[in-house]
Every structure is written in structure tokens, then in C-alpha cells.
């Protein structure tokens, strides 16, 4: 790195790793944190006044859809990582449900190369568990591990049989810290599903998916993890019962982690009453009790991480009949503000736990060792600076190529001001810098 030095002057430093929470200056040089202290100065350093702002480890997303290759009309690696930078993320993990599927090292290499060209975030591609995500033959996991892949998932699809999952969880035990991430959904309880099954779905005449669709697979997967000793991660939990099952599994000492999305922490099935297709997501928004259980599970650490499941779709795809619109909401640009507004401000989550779940823990799960703090001299300078008091309304334009946000029109408090990736600004004052 040849970059000039960057002096971030006077932010409140919120470092969930060291527990540090005070005002100090941070000097960044050659891609790393050079010094943390009071009244720092450096010749020729670019000075950024951070009075009243919060500086934290750059955010890390375990669950992103960058859509490249194959669906570049929704998002590309470049536009997706630009959205990441705008949202304070320094690392993202794109899911393999591309076309072709990221089930071998060459597709992974292509995504990595596009990410390097854009230079807006570190990208850690997730590989498919099975060939073509077809749920049968294992993909060449070993070759992808050699290419640096640490997490595998057939996201969007559940591994259909316990037998295949057993083989995957057993096979990856040969590699260090490799994780199998599951999208938990029993397909037969989910046929034609448009939303959570309950009185709201019956009233709206939309085909529902009962929580049992998720719960039965969570239970199955935890038992298979118990059988194999393999390292399991559960994607986007949505139900109270799932949270309870994970809590019990952790009590038993299983090697399991779990994530929840910002939107599942906020919305319920009632929010679909206007047939807003931007709120059609999978798994669906469930009842208020489910939402409370997710919040409690996140607060007590049963749920380890907050992941966006950033799922861009083109306007014309979402502006369709409800049952024809695809599932998903974008999320990278709103995640931090949603968590600050809906969970930290009302006191449901401490700022430290929020940042832990948005950065430190996902970095650990992903093996993204240069991310997730601590904010100490010598560490890579992957940082976010945000204004905790700025109030804004979620509206286009977005840095993402798509605008299908479930939060459109919503007022949020807390806004990313600067994102620093390996010592360089990738986002500053409302603009991506590359």
C-alpha cells in the first residue's frame, strides 16, 4: 500500500473486541491502524473530522447475493460491493446461487477477480455444497477449500436429505474451520408459499408456509450435526421454535452458529397487508412472538450474527402480481441504521452487541481475519464511521443496482459517513469513492 495516511480525528471508538468505548484519534497508514490515541498528528495525512461520530470495525456480511455471474441486470459484483461500502461493510460473502452456480473453483475465481477490480469490499465467496445446488452429488469442496472458500451453502435451497447433509458435514471435518451453512426449509410444507401461514395469510388469500417448514429442518440439521460433529451454520432464522432449538443445541455443546436478518427483526406477517412485493421474502416474516424470540435470541447470543440476505431484484420483477414476484429485499445499505433504530435505540440490544453481531462474529465465522476488529495498532484498517444521530428516509437512489427494499419510505436514525477498506476510503459523505 502506498496510500497516504488518514487521520480520523475525534470519533467515539466502539470496539466490541476490546470493549473500548471512548473518544480518541485513529491514524491509519499503509493499510493498517498505525496509532490510536489523543491529539495525534501526522504530516501529509488526510484529516477527517469525526466529532460526534462513532468509529467501529467495518461490517461483515455473511449472506449476500451479488448476482454475478448470470443475473447482472439485478446486481453485479461492482454495484453490490458499492452498496456494501455505502452500508459500512468492508467484507461480504456472496451466496453461490448464480448462473453458473459457484460450485467449482473457477466460478469462485471469477467472482474474486471482479471484486478485486472493483476494490470496494473484500469478497469471500461461499461455495455450493452440492453440484449445481441440485442436492445430490457433493460439489468439489476440497478444491474450493484450496481456493480459499471457508463456507459452503446451497442457499435458497435446503439440502434435501439428511444423508447428503451428513456426508457434507462429515467430509468437511478434514478441513480446518470449514462451515456448512443451511437454508432451513422443508420443501413439501412450502409449496407455492407467499408468506407465513397464519390468520393473515388466510385473510389475504396467499399461500402460507408454516413455521414448521423451518423448524423441522432445523431439528433435523442439529441432529445431523450431533451425529457428525460437523460445523453447522443456520441461515436467516425466522421462528421462535428455531431459536429455542438452537439454544438447546448450544447448551449441548454442538458446533452450531446462526444468523438473523435485520428485516426479520423488524417486520411481521401483518406488514404484508398491502401486498407490497418488496416485503415478500424467504423465509417469510412471521408472527410478533416469533419476532420477539429472534430479538431475544440475538441479545442473548443464541443467534450469533446479523446477516443481510441482500437480495436484489429488478423493478419489473418486483412490480408484478404478488405470487409472481421473486422473494427478497436488498439490505446492505440499511442494515446498520435498521439495527441502530429498531434495536439499539429502544434498548433491546447494546451497541457493543450490535457491532459484535454485525462485524466481529461474522468475521470469525467467515475466517475473515483482517476484519472484525480489534481497533488496535497493527491491525488492518477496515473501519466504519457513522453518525448515530442523523435521521434519514429510505428512498432511491441506492448504490445497489436494485431498489427492492422492504424498508422503502421508512425513517431511520444512524447513517454511515465513511467506510475504510485496508486504509483507503471506499465511501465518504454519501458517495462511493471507486
Amino acid at each position: 500500500m502506498t496510500g497516504r495516511a488518514l487521520l480520523l480525528r475525534g470519533p467515539r471508538i466502539a470496539d466490541p473486541v476490546s470493549g473500548r468505548d471512548d473518544v480518541a484519534d485513529v491514524l491509519v497508514r499503509d493499510g493498517a491502524i498505525a496509532e490510536v490515541g489523543s491529539a495525534l498528528s501526522a504530516a501529509k495525512a488526510e484529516v477527517i473530522e469525526c466529532d460526534g461520530l462513532v468509529l467501529a470495525p467495518g461490517l461483515v456480511d455473511l449472506h449476500t447475493h451479488l448476482r454475478e455471474p448470470g443475473a447482472e441486470h439485478k446486481e453485479t459484483v461492482e454495484t453490490g460491493t458499492r452498496a456494501a461500502a455505502a452500508g459500512g461493510y468492508t467484507a461480504v460473502a456472496p451466496m453461490p446461487n448464480t448462473d453458473p452456480v459457484a460450485d467449482d473453483a473457477s466460478v469462485i475465481a471469477g467472482v474474486r477477480a471482479a471484486a478485486a477490480r472493483a476494490g470496494l469490499a473484500d469478497v469471500f465467496p461461499i461455495g455450493a455444497i452440492t453440484r449445481g445446488q441440485e442436492g445430490e452429488a457433493l460439489a468439489e469442496l476440497g478444491e474450493m477449500v484450496e481456493a480459499g472458500v471457508r463456507v459452503f451453502s446451497d442457499d435458497g435451497r435446503c439440502v434435501p436429505t439428511a444423508r447428503t447433509l451428513r456426508n457434507a458435514l462429515t467430509y468437511v471435518r478434514a478441513f480446518d474451520d470449514v462451515v456448512i451453512a443451511e437454508h432451513c426449509e422443508d420443501a413439501s410444507l412450502s409449496i407455492g408459499q407467499q408468506m407465513h401461514e397464519g390468520i393473515t395469510s388466510f385473510s389475504l388469500g396467499l399461500t402460507g408456509q408454516p413455521s414448521a417448514s423451518e423448524d423441522t429442518i432445523v431439528y433435523r440439521d442439529l441432529e445431523v450435526a450431533r451425529l457428525t460433529g460437523g460445523r453447522l451454520h443456520l441461515c436467516h432464522l425466522s421462528s421462535a421454535r428455531s431459536v429455542e432449538l438452537v439454544r438447546a443445541a448450544k447448551r449441548d455443546g454442538l458446533r452450531v452458529t446462526a444468523e438473523v436478518t435485520p428485516h426479520h427483526l423488524v417486520f411481521t406477517d401483518e406488514d404484508l397487508r398491502t401486498y407490497d412485493t418488496n416485503r415478500k421474502v424467504n423465509p417469510p416474516f412471521r408472527s410478533a412472538e416469533d419476532r420477539e424470540a429472534l430479538r431475544a435470541g440475538l441479545a442473548d447470543g443464541t443467534i450469533d450474527a446479523i446477516a443481510t440476505d441482500h437480495a436484489p431484484h429488478a423493478v419489473e420483477e418486483k412490480e408484478a402480481e404478488f405470487d409472481r414476484a421473486p422473494h427478497g429485499t436488498i439490505g446492505l445499505e440499511t442494515a446498520l441504521a435498521v439495527v441502530l433504530t429498531e434495536l439499539v435505540a429502544p434498548g433491546l440490544l447494546t451497541l457493543s452487541r450490535a457491532l459484535d453481531a454485525l462485524s466481529v462474529t461474522p468475521a470469525r465465522i467467515l475466517g475473515a481475519n483482517e476484519h472484525g476488529g480489534p481497533i488496535e495498532p497493527g491491525r488492518p484498517a477496515n473501519l466504519v464511521v457513522f453518525d448515530p444521530t442523523e435521521t434519514w428516509t429510505v428512498d432511491p437512489p441506492f448504490a445497489s443496482k436494485s431498489r427492492n427494499s422492504a424498508f422503502l419510505g421508512r425513517e431511520l436514525t444512524g447513517r454511515v459517513r465513511f467506510t475504510v477498506l485496508h486504509g483507503e476510503l471506499t465511501f465518504a459523505e454519501g458517495k462511493a469513492l471507486r
Binding site: 390468520i199 388466510f202 385473510s203 389475504l204 388469500g205 396467499l206 398491502t274 402480481e321 404478488f322 405470487d323
Partner: protein, 311 residues
């Protein structure tokens, strides 16, 4: 009244009474030799039908024509829709042509709601997926009130595939709103498990329910293959829930048999039962035109001169 009619939840009990009263004044128009009033002269009503429906489309068409509106029938076959045009673009096109009201029938629940976000005109839901069919419910309420003199306190059973029936939803919501006592009857797989939250009762014993009814409302049983996973056979359905001669004998005197049509004679209703005097299925059809005239008139705001014509 709201600007649109998307769901029975859009209407207050007072709105319902007003619609039924207005329909009553239009009912007489249908008995004249010249069945036409100038109430909506110069206004354009589009029937946007994405699903085949002979009776609802014709009923709306007649209603609009009897009010002297210009009527355009747009169905998905043989139109730009078959060339892949989206619902939104079709709606924008119709708006650009000056549609004052769009009557939409669509297989996707919620489509009329989405239409209101894209067009300025009034939107009338003529049946959306498995969601609602509010004009059917209103014509049913009209028929019940006309025959029995009231809605409040009426004991009504809705029998059949409630889970997939837009008619059952709208009618339940409407009857509960008007103070009637509603029981949903059918195989447990075809009744929404949380239905009591709608303010209705649930029963799986049709013979236990029949003696306490003012109205026995039968739903069409869908016999397509995908429905058959919900009950073992049409034969068994008919045996357990079909209305035959013997069961009709359990109904109190003066009670009504209703059906939204089209009927499966021999499945949910025996052929000779459908033709009994207490079966008011044809009245429902006739009343449908008057109720739809009332809705178009109230939503589009007919001119003062019509008051004279209709009074």
C-alpha cells in the same frame, strides 16, 4: 365509501346498507322494457379479466351498460397480455385511454391492491385469487335481506372449500360486519385453522348445523387434482357434506339454499335440491346486476339527474 372496492374490509356496516338500498332502487330498472338510465353517460368502465368468468363479466357489463357507461371488455387471451405485457403496463395503457373505473378479475390474490398503486381510476375487485370477491358477497347479502328481511342475527352456514374460496372470505367478513352468525362447515383440511379469529364458528358436522340455519350457503367444490390432496375423494366429500334431499329436510322451514355458481350438481348439491323453491340461486344472479350498478354508481358518483330517473 372508499375510492375503491378491494375487500369487504373497505366497507362499514353503513356503507353496506347504503349499497343494498341503492341496489334496491336499481332493481326496478331491470324490470323495465327499456332497461337503461343515463347515470354514467360518458364514463368509461373497463372489465379487465385475467381469468375466465362468464357470469361475473356479463353481470358487470350489463350493470355498466344499464347505467349508460361506455364499456370495454379486456380479457387476457388474444390481447397484449398474451404477448407478455405486465399487469402494470396494461393498467397504464387503460388509464391512458381514459378508464374511469377498472373492474379486475385476476388469479393472483392482491392484484386489485397493486392496481391502485399504478392507476388513478376507481378499482373494483371482481375476484382476486383466493382472496376476496366482494361484489359476490354484496349480492348475496342483498338476496338474504330481500328474502328474509334482515341480516342481523341471521344464522348462516358456508359449506365447502373455505380455504381456497374468495367467496367464503368476502361473505364471512360481510356477514360478521352485519351482525349475522356464521358457521364454516367442511373437511378440516379445507377450513383455515385460525378461522375463529374472523369472528365465525367452525363445524365439521353438516347435519348438526343444518337444523339451526336461516341460510345454507354451498361453495363450489374444486375437483382439480391439486385440490384432491385435501380430501380423499369427491364421492366421500359428497357423502359427508353434500346437500341432498334428506339433508334439506333438516333445514328449518323458510330457510334458503344459496350457491355462487357455477354448480357441480351431484357433488356439493343434488340436482333436484338446486331446483327447489327455497333455492334462490337464480335470484342471486339477477340481484348481482343491481348490486353492481349500485357500486359503479356510488363509486363513480352518478349525476343528480339520475336521482330523478331512479326514484
Amino acid at each position: 365509501m372508499n375510492e375503491h372496492l378491494l375487500s369487504m374490509h373497505d366497507l362499514t356496516a353503513d356503507d353496506v346498507v347504503r349499497i343494498l338500498d341503492t341496489a334496491e332502487s336499481f332493481r326496478e330498472v331491470g324490470t323495465r322494457v327499456i332497461k337503461k338510465v343515463p347515470a354514467l353517460r360518458g364514463r368509461t368502465v373497463v372489465n379487465l379479466f385475467y381469468e375466465n368468468s362468464t357470469r361475473t363479466r356479463i353481470s358487470f357489463e350489463l350493470a355498466a351498460k344499464r347505467l349508460s357507461a361506455d364499456v370495454i371488455n379486456f380479457s387476457s387471451g388474444g390481447s397484449s397480455v398474451s404477448k407478455g405485457e405486465s399487469l402494470k403496463d396494461t393498467a397504464l395503457t387503460l388509464q391512458a385511454m381514459g378508464a374511469d373505473a377498472i373492474v379486475i378479475r385476476h388469479s393472483s390474490s392482491g392484484s386489485p391492491f397493486q392496481l391502485t398503486r399504478w392507476v388513478r381510476g376507481h378499482v373494483l375487485n371482481a375476484g382476486d385469487g383466493t382472496h376476496e370477491h366482494p361484489t359476490q358477497a354484496l349480492l348475496d347479502l342483498y338476496t338474504m335481506r330481500e328474502r328474509l328481511g334482515r341480516l342481523e342475527g341471521l344464522r348462516v352456514a358456508i359449506v365447502g372449500d373455505v380455504l381456497h374460496s374468495r367467496v367464503a372470505r368476502s361473505l364471512s367478513f360481510g356477514l360478521v360486519k352485519m351482525g349475522a352468525d356464521v358457521t364454516l362447515v367442511g373437511p378440516a383440511t379445507l377450513i383455515p385453522p385460525d378461522a375463529p379469529a374472523w369472528g365465525v364458528q367452525v363445524s365439521h358436522d353438516v347435519e348438526g348445523v343444518l337444523p339451526k340455519l336461516d341460510v345454507c350457503y354451498l361453495l363450489r367444490v374444486q375437483t382439480e387434482r391439486q385440490r384432491l390432496e385435501y380430501f380423499p375423494s369427491v364421492r366421500e366429500y359428497s357423502r359427508l357434506f353434500g346437500l341432498d334431499r334428506r339433508r334439506v329436510g333438516l333445514l328449518p322451514e323458510g330457510s334458503l339454499i344459496m350457491h355462487p355458481g357455477p354448480m357441480n350438481r351431484g357433488v356439493e348439491i343434488d340436482s333436484d335440491v338446486a331446483d327447489l323453491p327455497q333455492s334462490v340461486i337464480e335470484d342471486q344472479v339477477t340481484n348481482g346486476i343491481a348490486v353492481r350498478m349500485a357500486l359503479l354508481y356510488l363509486l363513480l358518483g352518478g349525476r343528480a339527474e339520475t336521482e330523478e330517473v331512479t326514484s
